[in-house]
Every structure is written in structure tokens, then in C-alpha cells.
Symmetry: C2
Subunit: 337 residues, 2 copies
Amino acid sequence: MTDDADQQGSAEDLLIARYFRPLARDPGAFALTDDAAVLSPPAGCDLVLKADAIIGGVHFLPDDPPEAIAKKALRVNLSDLAAKGAWPLGFLLSLALAKEVGDDWLASFARGLKDDAEHYACPLFGGDTVRTPGPVMVSIAAFGAVPHGAMIRRSGARPGDLVVVTGTIGDAVLGLRLRRDPDEAARLGLDPSKRDHLIARYRLPQPRNAVAAVMRRYASAAMDVSDGLAGDFAKLCRTSQVDGVIEAARMPLSHAAQAALAAEPALLAHLLSGGDDYEIVATVSADHIDALIAEARAVGVRVTEIGRIEAGAGRAQFLDAEGRTLVFARQSFSHFD
Amino acid sequence: MTDDADQQGSAEDLLIARYFRPLARDPGAFALTDDAAVLSPPAGCDLVLKADAIIGGVHFLPDDPPEAIAKKALRVNLSDLAAKGAWPLGFLLSLALAKEVGDDWLASFARGLKDDAEHYACPLFGGDTVRTPGPVMVSIAAFGAVPHGAMIRRSGARPGDLVVVTGTIGDAVLGLRLRRDPDEAARLGLDPSKRDHLIARYRLPQPRNAVAAVMRRYASAAMDVSDGLAGDFAKLCRTSQVDGVIEAARMPLSHAAQAALAAEPALLAHLLSGGDDYEIVATVSADHIDALIAEARAVGVRVTEIGRIEAGAGRAQFLDAEGRTLVFARQSFSHFD
């Protein structure tokens, strides 16, 4: 054993110390010098647990900026915590690095992750870093907290509830189309600012953590919209064992998505089933909907009423402006269809 | 949206329901029908958090049995919990599946994982399953519990403490050599039962969770031995800011490893630096060592005294039978050397 190695540890230790130690500010992370971290959950709270991985070529494109990849990996998990009414406590990171990934990439990745860990008050608690012969994979397990028993479930929707959604739907799937096909913007008549808006919505989710406490106060059921509103809302209806009806004409769309839809009305089904929205779909009693919308607005999040819950066996329907049922070729994004 | 899809969900949902729902027995996992899980930590306890990933071609061989891959993925995390004195509460799984992975592989993987989740009382709380163009990757985040403030740190070793290790060291690195080179067993004069023992030790770690409570009671510092005893013990000495001396002649070796070492004495450095042992190295005051060894034996785990801690700046030394310092070409396994 050389003195050098004895003092410094392995290259893996050095990499962790250089890039990831600055993110591990919680005392329970022991500055990443121990094998595991310790977390004392807030008194009277449950922990909310979520793990989600993103992979190069599947969830992000290899030439996406490393900062954006890091942020997306954390934000897809933060979005689930928000939809469950939880506030973030921290996360674990498993990072598999492709051979071609060098110091510049890693420095940029760590910088993006640090920005978000600070912005969302969600520090790094630990994890591991390995080399892979395959594409980059970023696997994050995030922990949040809710008051005991207060996690918002998928299963709480009741007949008579109204359906709401945060933000706008369909931007990310349009953004991915624009990224993949440079001619698509011209075909849809989108100017550069609309095009850039949609691409940014694909690259960088805006999880609705600001509205988590409002959702916890009023929502009877909620989930994050990550695999397409059509399929995700169908899951909520199945789990709650209720029927749900959404009016597509009430769907909140960005100006850019409105312009694209005006140019190509057939895109509607894509917007509703495309995925990567990272908004929250929730149900709320008619008594509480005004308070939910007002309190969400007060924290900067637009919430739109889009439908209703009825008694039934778990069927979700989307109606067009004439009241006809929309039929989707594919309800939602799935890795195994 | 078809009635069929409405009733059953996506292929991804079906895969999760078929293979992984049976592992999610804790009520807080909601039978994997929600976006996140909820965990109420035991009163008065801290959570201990650990994430570790294993990758095909790096941490396991592509033709390893899927049951063994699943068990290894969970056990490398359980080993860390054990070394920290924690008992398991559950885990999250991120599974990236290569295109060639079919139903048989997945059924076998899930069966192995279920066996271990039950054996170690460590149920599945959630996670995600995605396709990858690369090799299979199994990323697990495991949660354990310790009484508040009782996690065993790396940093607690004090001058005068003795050094102990569980089980036997060096089997797994020999097992990997035997797996990679079919002629190695004959060269080392190992009969089939010795060869099989070493290969099994590589394929399937035996985490020392049985001894976690004993370690918590007596150990001043501990960590799991996963990257080679030489490097891992050096980390413990650095973090504790003490010097450590280990006598290689006292190292606990299996009969199979003893036979290999008799045939090729130069293997000693490999045994001490090879990795994949998943034993626990710990320090303990002289007052407590007899109790630690006796109580560990009572729960079926052999613990051997192998060295001592001295005042110093964080230097670890390994001495051979003549008291000379052993020099390692490479202290431990690292992905980035």
C-alpha cells in the first residue's frame, strides 16, 4: 500500500469527493465518508419513498446538456413527491457512467444536480458511481415527508369529485418531436420562441413541489402525469374504482401547444397520451375546488378544472368538443408495449 | 382508449403486477398501485440509507443465474446495513432490462428477489422498470433502522481498539478467477468442492445481518468489506484518523482459500485487496472483544481478531508472518483507476 493511496483513496473516492461531496450538506450524509447515511424523519411524519431511473437514448438524448440530465433525473422523482403531497428530504444517487464520459461532463452534471438539490432543499445522502459498458444511467431514490397518514393516494377519488390538472399538458411530447425532427417546427408554423419553449419543457421538467401542501389539504386523490395524461388518469380511475370523464376542450395548453394544435388538429391525442409532462392530476370535492385553485395560484401554480368523477368500475373517458369519446391508439408511454 | 387497456393497464403495469407485486407485502407499498410508498419508521429510530447498483459484465457475468443476480443486488445493500448495525426495513428497485431479457429471466429474477426479501424481512416498497440498450442494471436503495444515534460509523476507531472481521476473506476474488479461467482450479490444485465453494462465495454474498445488533452493542467503528479488505480498512483508518495494523497471518481463510494460498503464496495480496467479500471489518475495545466474539458465535457468525488500532494520522498497514509490511499493487477494487 503506497503512502499516496493511503492518503487519498481510490480514483472513485476522489471523484465522489470532488463532484458530489458539495451536494451532501445534511449532517446525516457524513460528507459521503461513511458507507450509509442516517436520516431522522421529522416527528409525527411518514416518509414517502420513490425511485426512478433515466437512461441515455431512452429518457434523454445523448447530446442533452449534462446539467439538464442531472436536473431531469432529480425532478422526475420530485414530481412524484409533490403529487403525493410530500416535501423533499433528500435523495440517493446511483450513477452508471459510460466510458466516454469525462471530467467536463461530470463537473457539469454535478453542477446541475447541486443547483436543484439546493433549489428544492433536497440534499444528496449517498449512493454509488460505477462504470458501465452501456449508456449513462441515472437512478435516484428520493425521500419526502408528510404528516402521519396524510400521503395523497391514487385511490381516493369519489363520485362527484372534480378533476384538476396543474400547468399545461402536452408541451414535452411536442418538444421531443421538435428535437428529433428539425423540420417539424416549420411544418407546424412555430416561431423560434414557441419551439424553444416546447423543447425546454421536454428537457427540463418543472415539478410542482410548490403546490404539494395545497394538494395535501384539498385533493382526494392525485398522481403525477409522467406517462401521458390519458394513461395516468386511467390508472387513477382504476385504482379509485370510479369512472372519470375529462373534456379535452378544457385542457390547459401553452400558447405554443395551441399553435401546434391549430396547425395539426390530429396532434390532440399525442398531447393527451405523450408523457413527460410532470404535472399533477388530482381530484377534489366541489366544496374545495375554489380554495384549491386560489391557494395554488397564491404559490404560483395554475390549476385548471378539466373533468369529473362518476360512479363506475374504473373507466376513464376523454370527450372532444362535441362530446364524442376520443379513442387513443396508445394510452400512454410504456417501455414494454 | 380501449376497454382492454382500460381494464389492464400497460404492458409495464402487467409486468410489475405479475413479477413484483408479490414482493411488496408491506401495507405502505400499496401493492405497487400508487406512485410512491409510505414508510413509518419505528419510534425512536433513525433510518439508515444505502444505494448500490450492479451491472452486467461488471458486477456479475451475463450467464449468472438470474436468481443469483437478484440476490446479489439486494445483498450488497443488506451488507452495508449490517455493518452499520441496522436492521432492514425495505428497499426500492430500479431495474433496467436489456432487450434480450425475456419472461423466463424475469420470472427467475423475481423469484430470487422474493426469496431474499422474505428471508431478510426486507420487502419491496416500489421502484421502476425500464428498457435499456445496454447491459442489465439492478439499482437498489435499501432502508434500515437503528435506535436514534446508534448507527455504527466508520470514524469511531480509537487507539487501543482491536480489529476484527467476520467470516472469511478472499473467497470471492478467487471465485471470480475460477469462473473466468476454467484451468485455474487445476493449477491451484483445488478439488471440485473447494472450487464450487469459492465460486458460490463470488456469486452469492452472505451478508452478516445476523450480527448487526451485536456489532451495534460493541463495535466502535465498522464498515462492510466490499472493495477489498486492504482498501476498505485503509478508509476506516483515514476516516477515524488513527493508524491500523493487521497481521495477515491471522486472516480468517476458508479451507479452499488456504489450499489456493498454499499452492500459490503470491495470491495473498489478491485475497486482501480483491473485493466482493461482503464481510464486516470492525474495531472494538479490548474490554468488549470477548463478548463480541461470543455473542456473534451465538448467532452463527464467526468473528476473528486480526489486528489493532494505534495513534496516528490514518495509515493502515498489513504485516506478513515475519512482521514485514505488505505492499499492494492496488489496494482495492475501483471503477475509476
